[in-house]
């Protein structure tokens, strides 16, 4: 009869019932080889134990349940005396406000996060159809919506938003697991992706040769919770109707293959160019996202009238709403890049020149960031062919 190591280990840990224990002890008497296995298991257990014990709290780091309870009560009463930032505020800050460009770029992260924010806050819109097929929404343009500080406060205080983030965050992790692949040339990159790779034709003089990496396609499935989403809007006193299909069918975000080129100047990154096919989002049929788009604008702080007025100007079939905090950290302006609408991001108070440009054209999304003035960055973007 094979020796059951699992049972012997449980014996060592006193995790057997009296009957099972008796059986093992009989086995130890009858079969000397069982004792040898037991000794080996005991050694292995003792070898590892000190290492796992080492990561436990030391005496001065032991928990203090009484004090923890006091802090919890304070937190619940909203009068936190802790110097640590409120966790929801910290997470929203990290997601949107601090500075938001870091959160939203590169595009592979941009569209994941913006899609989540868009879905969580704005809901990528689609027209309702009496079809059983999933609707596909492909990002072709971005609508910037300025969000005032007090409206960010309101979002922070939305009791259901953290629960929603709790649900969505772990599902996003799938998107960031694999490593980018370095290649030696754009020709080599072209062999790995299924789109024509565009090139910057007017690089700054000192740019040199770029480092080129390819990030492979990722598919993220997000299972949303209809009741929770409704609760997010309800907490902001916004009425919106969601279909039951949200509970049954996931939202599927496809991050396509991405090519990234990075240039360095005096040992530091000076320019980065990222390109990929526009990401797509599939989501359940039955979602009236014209209505949802307008509701989401209200969640970002607009009045119902303002939201309706802006909503009517947006092509909800292919536009993603990008909330931008109006706190002076980032200037965002619209720009035209070779006939395509784009956005320029710059920090007006920066001591040196830094800017970023993003645009979408013919189904491709581009992002350019660099330590150059905004005007020069736009010129570089316009040289992309």
């Amino acid at each position: 009869m094979p020796i059951d190591e699992g049972k012997l280990r449980a014996y060592l840990d006193h995790a057997l019932s009296p009957e099972e224990r008796a059986l093992v002890e009989q086995q130890l008497i009858d079969l000397p080889e069982v004792q040898a296995v037991l000794d080996k298991l005991n050694r292995e257990r003792h070898d590892v134990a000190p290492y796992l014990a080492a990561i436990g709290p030391s005496p001065h780091q032991e928990p203090e349940a009484g004090q923890a309870w006091g802090r919890f009560q304070t937190r619940m009463s909203g009068q936190s005396k802790s110097t640590k930032p409120n966790r929801l505020e910290e997470r929203i800050n990290n997601m949107v406000n601090q500075p938001f460009i870091k959160r939203y770029q590169p595009l592979i992260i941009l569209f994941t996060v913006v899609a989540i924010i868009a879905i969580a806050l704005s809901f990528a819109p689609v027209r309702t159809m009496a079809s059983n097929l999933l609707r596909v929404f492909r990002v072709q343009s971005v609508q910037v919506v300025s969000v005032e500080k007090e409206d960010m406060e309101a979002l922070r205080n939305n009791p259901n938003l953290e629960r929603l983030i709790d649900q969505l965050e772990p599902q996003l992790d799938v998107a960031e697991d694999s490593e980018p692949e370095k290649v030696d040339s754009l020709d080599e990159a072209a062999d790995k992706v299924e789109f024509r790779i565009a090139q910057i034709t007017a690089l700054p003089a000192e740019a040199g040769n770029p480092t080129i990496t390819v990030l492979r396609q990722k598919v993220v499935q997000l299972q949303l919770d209809k009741a929770l989403l409704e609760a997010v809007f309800e907490a902001a006193e916004i009425e919106v109707e969601l279909p039951d299909s949200l509970n049954d069918e996931p939202v599927v975000i496809t991050h396509p293959d991405t090519v990234e080129q990075t240039w360095h100047r005096e040992g530091e990154k000076s320019l980065e160019f990222i390109q990929m096919p526009a990401p797509s989002i599939e989501y359940p049929d039955g979602l009236d996202l014209d209505e949802l788009g307008v509701a989401s604008l209200q969640l970002l702080g607009m009045s119902a009238e303002e939201a309706k007025a802006l909503g009517a100007t947006i092509d909800w079939a292919n536009t993603m709403v990008l909330p931008v905090p109006n706190n002076g950290d980032v200037d965002v302006e619209e720009v035209v890049i070779n006939g395509a609408k784009g956005l320029v991001f710059a920090n007006p108070d920066s001591e040196d020149d830094r800017a970023a440009v993003s645009w979408t054209r013919d189904g491709m999304s581009y992002f350019l960031a660099g330590k150059y003035p905004a005007g020069e960055m736009v010129d570089i973007a316009k040289s992309v062919q």
Partner: protein
């Protein structure tokens, strides 16, 4: 002494005193688990608070998820998941900071405290755990936080009889990976 199940029922009926009892009963264990995962007191306390906040705000979830009588198991599972999520968020922020911090001058980090203790051994252990299969790493952290086979079985959703062999496998995997990565620290 009131059971966890009884306290949960009372909490679901709006009795905050029951919640305090549950908090005091389970806080230390939750903190220990999170400390092992996160490596510092501040983060462990912060996430522990969030775990209990989740219970406070949504006590009905315990029942809905089938843990009708196992508040402890639910708390440990939530704690482990939140702990891992925190680690991943920290890693993402760190990666973004490394990746994009060059672009903006006001890149003063709001990242939380370093997830690795300064101690080399602790760093090595945590990094080894990070390289293991998540279930095996969780099993080791939970077992060495004092959870019984029965508790582990509930959290990991396996039969109690399989914990012994899972634990043996996990410890062997840890030992092998640690030796490979840190031969000089043995």
């Amino acid at each position: 002494m009131l059971t966890d199940a009884k306290l949960l029922t009372q909490l679901q009926a709006g009795d905050d005193a029951s919640f305090e009892l549950l908090f005091q009963r389970h806080y230390n264990r939750i903190y220990h688990i999170l400390y092992r995962l996160l490596g510092n007191k501040a983060d462990a306390e912060d996430v522990a608070q969030s775990v209990f906040l989740k219970l406070y705000q949504s006590p009905h979830w315990v029942r809905l998820q089938g843990d009708e009588a196992n508040v402890a198991g639910w708390l440990y599972r939530v704690a482990v998941n939140m702990g891992y999520n925190t680690l991943r968020s920290q890693k993402r922020r760190q990666m973004r900071q490394e990746r994009w911090g060059w672009l903006w001058p006001f890149s003063a980090s709001t990242d939380p405290a370093d997830i690795s203790a300064s101690n080399d051994l602790q760093t090595g252990v945590r990094q080894t755990l990070a390289r293991m299969k998540p279930r095996e790493a969780k099993l080791l952290v939970l077992r060495h936080s004092g959870l019984s086979y029965k508790e582990l079985a509930v959290i990991l959703e396996v039969a109690p009889g399989s914990i012994g062999s899972l634990l043996t496998r996990a410890e062997r995997a840890f030992a092998q990976k640690y030796r490979l990565a840190y031969p000089e620290q043995e």
